[in-house]
Amino acid sequence: MMLKYKLLWGGLFYKKLRLVLSIIGIIIGVSSLLLMNAFGEAAKIRTLKEIETFGPEVLMVVAGNVRVSAGRAIQTEVTTTLKPEDAEALRKIGGIRFISPYFTGDAIVRFAGNTVSTVLNGVNEEYLRLRKFSLEEGRNFLKDEILSYKKVVILGNKVKAQLFGKENPVGQTILINKLPFKVIGVLSPIGIDASNADQDDQVLIPYTIAISAIYNVDYIRGIFISVEDPSNLPFIEKQIDSILSKRHKVTEKNKDFTIVKAEDILQAKTQTTNLFSSLVKSISVLCLVVGALGVTAIMTLAVNERKKEIGIRKAIGAKERDILLQFLIESVIVTLLGGIMGVVLGVGLTLILLPVFNYPLIFPVIPILTSTGLTIIFGIFAGVYPSYKASKVDPIVLLRSF
């Protein structure tokens, strides 16, 4: 039986260089298609992970104007009118679960000769539960520590590693902008959140001490709010808006605060990723088309070169259909060979490159299936023209007497 297949497609491996060339085109097309699809999948998973820390039940009041661009909430104008009392005033809204005032700034943190420049966030004792952050070591702030301006700090995972290495920092005293703070806890690793901030590169302290002792101001940058039921969000958003507008004596036109929802950030983010991935997908499909055209060109060449072989096959009884099928399957074999190598290469590259670019590691099952399917389709397309030409070869080319 093997002999039968050898007689049909043995010619494929006769001109090896030509075979290799046409396969390379397909390899490039398939592996890039697979790689791009895998990155798209991984990006989706990453976004989903990010949303977990900035969930659909969370919203944020930001002082000043905020524009959401490319997935980031960018503060375009800072105002000093948002006060801690505003946060307290919002507590009377029904359906709110947690509220935390929020102040953020840069800070220099020091311990035993190690110095780290990081982000300092002033929050209250509800912040950890609000953001669903968990502690690796130590404990959360106490309500009393917030109210009494205690100098206590919770370290982000990266900051802890930089200052203390593997040692347990709980109970140690560090310097934040030269003021001594007692370490009470360490955050579990979180990663980058929806606002693109690395949540492991931060230190958390009571907002009271942050605005009074470190930055010496009387305002806050924002208020984090989480609600009991995300479906109530639009209603609660309206109430926040009216309470703050009344307190600040502002109207829609000169409003000095902005309410940002996870949804807004997500929307902008998916828009950009969608645009990016459709661009990338069309480029890689184009690669595959070019690869397939290469197969067409090379198969056409092969048909011209193998006219005698085709003529012989016809003279000894091959029907047009036999020849058509032979060459169609030849080009599918060529593209499939390239396709398989492309998939192997693409999977390899995916597994290497995903971690390099900080994407979650996935095994690209769906991309493998789609790129294999597309390869077979393109293989058939690539073969149609040359196979048709082959089936029309006139066996008269064989007979020449001079």
């Binding site: 043995g10 010619g11 012989i312 016809k314 003279a315 009884g317 007979l399 020449r400 007497s401």
Partner: protein, 229 residues
Amino acid sequence: MGDKIVILEDIQKIYQIGKVSYQVLKGIDLEVEQGEFLVIMGTSGSGKTTLLNIIGLLDKPTSGRYFLEGEEVSKFDSKKLAYIRNRKLGFIFQAFHLVPWATALENVLLPLLYRPEGFSKDDEKRAISLLERLGLGERIHAKPKELSGGQQQRVAIARALITNPKLLLADEPTGNLDSASSKEVMNIFKELNAEGLTIIMVTHDPEIAKNGKRIKVIADGIFVDEKQV
């Protein structure tokens, strides 16, 4: 029609090249009996190759009727013609036309590829014994380029015989061979003919033509002379 294997009635062939038309065959009548060894002799451009194309069902006449074993094959479609070529005809070409990437044995088996029943171990044995009979027992796994011209032509003969054809058609079979190999091939033809195989051979070479039992001379599209050897 009885034992007449080929009957041609007023076969004409006109080629149209651009606005000019060439009448290559101008009314050929021919009857070939079972077991004959007919040689069609003619110079270049006499129409002998076109005639062989038509007899071999590789080309269709412009007009006229062609009966092969009593069937009017000039009316068949291309699918049916492919079937007849596979079952009843064997071809030998001047340039051998072996498939370059296949071994001698594989080349011999090639025609069986186009039979729905495929080929069996028995067919393989038959192919090997054909090659052995033609003196190629040692070379069954050689590629064409590893064989001499005479050896290649003998592989081609084995390929033509594997299907047990009714009619063997040869187009200048010795045209690319030296005189020793030519003689060998002609001896094989005579042997096969003696066993009852009908052969039609086209050549321009009078010496080679003498191997046939009957010689018809074609010139300018019609038969001009006939002699028995």
